[in-house]
Symmetry: D2
């Protein structure tokens, strides 16, 4: 196989604080130390599938020196997946060739890494992966970058909201990211000392939650915080609230935060509100933890390129950054194990 000269790099899927840390480390090591050309590819697979002018461009050390503190990704991102339409994968491969890109660092989640793996397996594309998800739900690595920042932001939100809840004697439900895995909510619920934390992995018992707040009220604290993942669902049979029925008798259900607030108000008689953190959780400057983790990922990914460790992905194990196969990496979703959730129960109430 021909020697690697030009290394492409792209970021796919939702942005995560730390992406620029990976980009910086890969560029400084690959271009600055190893002497490769590095090509930035804009907007994930989109920039390889249908590159517009400027979508594939040289990345120099001077371009990345000061980007570690920045949230988001200087490469831009998209959810384009070349395996969704026949012929697109071939187009990606052709565009790589035409642009002289003979190796690829793909930074992304399940979807992006799944594409990377198939391009490697099916076309022999020389690819190194770097896992990215603020959801922390990849089984192949102890932690993903962006997760610590998301937990920190949600924790700070709970800290802020608590004083209002207490002053107004209210329950406030904080809706936190996490469709399938409750990691961010678990972390923020523990760090923010929520009075109850609900995650998609464990079916919620609304009556138990309501009882807990009634007990708090009895001991003189008619207020509290519920941390809930957006992915938590409540069986329709538990929905009792009437307040939000429209003229046709339809219950207008918003997100789980809103629904849950209505239910708790109904059941406890305590004024209950909700906040949806939404996009606040994924942006802004990364925590020190995420800057370090993303930088270390990037360095290791660059070494993997140098060593020709194709089809591999970087991962954290204890204090070490290791390589695992992309196959292994994209196999399984890591959800919050029951015993970790039960740890929270000590603090409920």
């Amino acid at each position: 196989m021909a020697e690697v000269r030009r290394v492409g790099m792209l970021t796919g899927g939702g942005d995560a604080p730390g992406l620029n840390g990976v980009i910086r480390a890969v560029t400084m090591k690959c271009a600055g130390e190893y002497g490769y050309d590095v090509a930035g590819i804009r907007l994930g697979w989109k920039g390889l599938l249908d590159p517009k002018e400027g979508d594939i461009f040289p990345l120099k050390v001077d371009d990345v020196r000061y980007i570690l503190q920045e949230g988001g990704t200087i490469l831009g991102s998209s959810r384009t997946n070349p395996y969704k339409r026949e012929g697109d994968a071939e187009k990606v491969v052709r565009n790589m060739e035409q642009n002289g890109i003979d190796a690829l660092v793909a930074i992304g989640g399940d979807d992006t890494l799944g594409v990377a793996r198939r391009l490697h397996d099916e076309f022999g594309i020389r690819v190194v992966g770097c896992p990215k998800t603020i959801d922390n739900d990849l089984s192949a690595t102890d932690t993903t970058f962006g997760y610590d920042t998301a937990v920190s932001i949600a924790t700070e939100a709970i800290d802020r909201i608590r004083t209002t809840a207490k002053s107004h004697e209210r329950i406030i439900v904080v809706e936190i990211m996490g469709r399938h895995a409750g990691w961010i909510t678990w972390g923020a619920g523990m760090a923010g000392a929520a009075n109850v934390t609900l995650i998609p992995e464990v079916e919620p018992d609304l009556d138990a939650v309501a009882d807990l707040f009634k007990k708090r009220a009895e001991r003189g604290e008619p207020w509290g915080i519920v941390a809930v993942s957006e992915g938590v669902t409540i069986g329709e049979e538990y929905i009792t609230q009437t307040a939000e029925r429209d003229e046709f008798g339809h219950v207008r259900l918003g997100g789980i935060g809103e629904t849950l607030a209505g239910e708790l108000k109904e059941r406890t008689g305590i004024d209950t509100r909700h906040v949806v953190l939404g996009h606040l959780q994924r942006g802004g400057t990364p925590t020190a933890y995420d800057r370090i983790l993303s930088t270390r990922y990037g360095l290791r990914a660059a070494e993997a390129v140098r060593d020709g460790e194709w089809g591999k992905m970087v991962a954290l194990r204890g204090n070490d950054i290791v390589l695992v196969s992309l196959a292994e990496a994209t196999e399984e979703t890591k959800t919050v194990p029951r015993e970790l959730y039960d740890d929270l129960a000590t603090f409920f109430g």
Copy 2:
């Protein structure tokens, strides 16, 4: 008139960062220096209208020494208004007498201070007011405490969200507090460098806003931030979006953030999202600015009690804390003047 021996203090209406700063300063000066008894009254006028056990309690210097950093109010708050039901004002007066409270420091907004003023005018109650609203819409004072904290939180939110908007090439609409006055949005829009800021005082021109984002897209920046007050309204004739119509053809309009996001997406073709900051904006530790302002308010209010300046309210004028009449204080809502709004226009785009 009998000498003042026992000074009551209450906080009414929505909580604001800095309330504990006022409470601390009043207590330390009135109890610590002047030798008055200070009585904390729980839950605003509710604690005087229908006091439960413990709702009127001695506040000592040791109780307040370390509360300056805390958001919310250690006295609790409510929206109870004794002028909403016949006979309630008399009950308040009677309860003050029975509890030996012969002067009152009332900390609150329009509503709370309006009650204070009528109790003073109609019953001769010895009252000193302290303005509180994070909305900053009181004409009698240059600034209200809580406002700086609210602007800071909203600004930080915009800072965070910008990197996501840019990475994903999205418009993100940030809905900020302010039903009638756009001060917080004006401040956060300026400090957060929003690409457009919309406030209740100025009718929005959706087409102009959409054009601006189209121009941004043309020059290579198909993304941006809109800061919008919750109180902004859009004439129904401008609503074009179809996405959220339900089975009966009804447009389900959420808050202005959601509506606006839908409209901008429709008009620009750019993916547009929204975030509602909600309760995040009023809680948590106050900024240094609000700690100082609230402390100075509290000190001046205590002096007003000592000097018998009843029916007055503390206010900031330039660098000075002055006294103004409660009548003046509650007269007029201060909205954002047109020329201040126009200052923002320089940065639109």
Copy 3:
């Protein structure tokens, strides 16, 4: 006089959070709205006295759009003063002419604005000034930008340090910026709830300070925080400590923080440490308050250029940005008035 075509802009003296806010607003208004050429001048008067290649360069709207959040100054700064050496002022004037700069926005403190004033008075240079000092010691304006950020940083430092002081039962002396004026220390001492605050304007009474901490110890709190301006001095006759004498018997006195810590330890028997905040206080992203103030200063300075208001400086009065004469502006240092310092006394102990 010929029409203004090209407006130069420079920043002089110590950096302050908010400088980029002024630069951005001046550029966006002057270049973007009024159609002037704007020339950035590097390193304060140095860039006009002895311009190297690239020291005078075109500033475009696109260069400044996203700099509001950045601390420091994109123009760089220096303490060069062209009135310190004969002939230098003439050189500055000549370089302005040669570079076609026919008006100047000078952003700086006493020193920078003093030069601006003399260039205006002596050579008829068309200059508009913008006050900059984190020390807040200019009498012509209610507040200077950078001050709020400095107070915030020092306050956060005190918040952090308090938990250590308490856990270890120590006094910790926090040395804060301010050679001649104690504004930052006054603000941080109030907002951080320091147990004692010492500023250059008021002679410290070490015995009284020591007594206060002894009393705290007696009531069960053998710890506390002293906020002290770097410019506070202690008469040599009060120096009693022996710990730090060197082999020759010389007392090695560090800054006031270190000295004071030694003295308090000696007098109280309580373990006493110190921290010098130093450069931490002037850097980093500006607070929302400083972003707004600096932006409004910049807008008003741009208007002054348009209106030919030469020899004037922007200033804050209440909520308004006004113009004052540069003469007035640089006349007097504003120190902390005694009554504001006495406000703190309520919280000492």
Copy 4:
């Protein structure tokens, strides 16, 4: 052996953000769930060696519910070591008996845990240890709580200082905690993107550092940040600076930050300053990471008490909290391995 009824808990050594997290979790699990009496012991071993009134007191769930966010330790701390004076260990054992304390949770560093281990080995005291050091230098655990907070604070400091360094074209040396192990400096140097990082584990080459800054100046960036551990030493033969010699010709060397700043100024001709972060790094509210880690440590320590796992210590391994023997725990100092330090080199310059 008699059943455990009353569990004592103490914190020793320097404070670390997260101590209250451990205290809260141990108390809520031991008292709230298992039904033990929990006794708080004030000021580390001091409170057991020579308990004053109130130094051994009941800790209830209600005392700890809301302390997770607080820095420091509600138990207070000291450096008292009962193995420093003959007979003291026996006194500790006697005081435990007299106060009915039949098991002990000892939270501390090398010193505190070393005592715990000997009390266990020599007197059969039932003890469970919890490691605490912001220095992160314990080989038995992947990470210690407090470390993440310390790195975060130092990183934020570097972020702030960078803008000043750049605006003034200065080198600024940031002196960071770490006498023997460079972990905090390593982390903050990486997360803060310092231009050079120096740690005690690797002998510094001043000439190489100076060359690096000269090269930066040549490419137009005559400024930068050095992160240096307080424990770094420079051989006297490398000291060239003359600026700070006193009248007797003695070089007055301050800490390494000051010394290094002098040397770099001398060697590069670039204005160089320094900042000593000192006590700022260990106080204040813990990061979300440290709140979670300390809470999980506390829960596991409580389980160890219930299970009678005496002589053990909790530790983090990957994502798991495990038990290791106290012997193992206090055996070895974990310093920064050479390859982790070399990771930083990619970013030097």
